[in-house]
Amino acid sequence: MTIVRWFGRYYSIFLLLAIYELIVRFGLVSPRLLPSLTVIGEQLWRYLANGELIVQAQVTLYRAFAGFSLALILGMLIGTLMARSRLAERLIEPIFYFGYPIPKIALYPVFIFVFGLGTGSTIALIVLECVYPITIHVHAGMRSADRVLIWAARNMGASPVQIFWRVLVPAALPIFFTGLRIALPVALIITLVTEMIGESRGLGYFVTYASASYQNARAMAAFFVIAAIGFALDRAVLYARRRVVFWQPTDTSIK
């Protein structure tokens, strides 16, 4: 896209940034409260160069991914089970149906006691939170397979295993990816939240510590890194979807 068209599309961002900078430069708000973009940029550069932001980011990402991967495996297993067995569905579904609106983060303190403060309890909470959307979407995805497709497969002599892999799984993929797109930010959010509550490592901790030390520019610099990570992860999921679910156009708009 040409520079002009690119600018035209994202003009609101530049406009807001410009207004922000003007507000700061004209001293309408204390620079302590709202640091200028150059100060933020300087802090960002400094803490990237000395590697600290990178290290903290790695801690956060490791936790988020570990928890997310576990939730993924668990979710796929449970979701598939629920889709294939009516008994399992009747037993398990209420847990998801009733448990969904309950803020599972309330159980975090319990996890701290079970797993101790640190990565273990964070991962446990991520698993608990992320398993919900993944399971629900895997379940819904498998059930979404058009009955007619299954009949056609059986008409052509496919065995149950073949039907599973050749009909149910592909049918489930679009909805599954929607679940992924929901669950991945959740994993990141949970990680950051636990790091903000009495932790000593990770980006969430970095932001809290900087803020508590009145280093707002530093905190905002870290926030920018978090934003970049979150954005990059979302694009990664969209890219994966475009490759895997190639027969459907991928809607890159937000949800």
């Binding site: 609101s12 961002i13 609106p101 803020p103 319990v110 950051l192 903000m196 969430g204 932001v207 508590a212």
Partner: protein, 258 residues
């Protein structure tokens, strides 16, 4: 409805029931660590705290903050979302802002918001408002965009004015998706409220959990956990009931059965 209660629903109650029974027996036999008190103890503590009014005080504060933030965020999210869905220039203005900041956990803003707005209620409500705004804006936007051309044509064919089209076509079409967004936003408001209180507060359910944890009052901790679970579930239930009334005719067959 009755048919569902007869055979299927009882099975669903089985796992939690079994868990509760096992939990109670093991706790009574002293086979469980300290941080897992018996359900009966939790129940007793709940009654105590209810009687003394303490529990209601915490619940009241938490609920007020969560619902205030939800209401404000929902209002702006719905109005702006509908505007963006209906008018392309508005959409083009907000689209990059929203899509770039959407994957970002708004929770990470919490320390900054505390720095800007102070450590009081306002900060929490602001954080909740911002968090809740996103899913509701996105849903309202999607709902408004889903208006079919033919419906607008039919309305204009029958002589409807622009205002009438907004109220009689745009809004009803977008309503189901707005409701989905509202449900997500409501659940989110409780989560954010909870976290914000755990980070910094002197009252409320999040604070209560932290207080209980620090003083090793595990029974109190579970009272808070159960309370917020019930609140979250009830709020969602209420919203769903309202939705059922408002969205008659637009629900799929499965949703009507639920």
């Amino acid at each position: 409805m009755m048919a569902k209660l007869r055979g299927g629903a009882w099975l669903g109650l089985l796992p939690p029931l079994i868990v509760l029974i096992v939990w109670e027996t093991m706790a009574e036999a002293g086979r469980l660590p300290d941080y897992l008190p018996a359900p009966s103890i939790i129940a007793r503590q709940t009654l105590t705290m209810l009687a003394s009014g303490e529990l209601m005080r915490h619940i009241g504060v938490s609920l007020f903050q969560a619902l205030s933030g939800f209401a404000i965020g929902a209002f702006f999210g719905t109005v702006l979302g509908l505007l963006s869905g209906a008018l392309r220039p508005v959409d083009r203005f907000y689209e990059p802002l929203i899509s770039l900041t959407y994957p970002v956990p708004k929770i990470a803003l919490l320390p900054l918001i505390f720095a800007w707005f102070g450590l009081g209620d306002l900060s929490k409500i602001v954080t909740i408002t911002i968090s809740v705004f996103y899913p509701i804006y996105i849903s309202a936007l999607a709902g408004a965009k889903s208006v079919s051309r033919v419906h607008v044509w039919a309305a204009r064919n029958m002589g409807a004015s622009a205002t009438q089209i907004i109220w009689r076509v745009l809004l009803p079409t977008a309503l189901p998706q707005i409701f989905t967004g509202l449900r997500i936003g409501l659940a989110l408001s409780f989560v954010v409220m909870f976290v914000a209180e755990m980070v910094e507060s002197s009252v409320g359910l999040g604070y209560l959990i932290l207080f209980a944890e620090q003083n090793l009052r595990f029974d109190m901790m579970y009272v808070a956990i159960v309370s917020i679970g019930i609140i979250g579930f009830s709020a969602d239930f209420l919203l769903r009931q309202i939705g059922k009334r408002l969205l008659v005719g637009q629900l799929t067959a499965t949703e009507i059965r639920r």
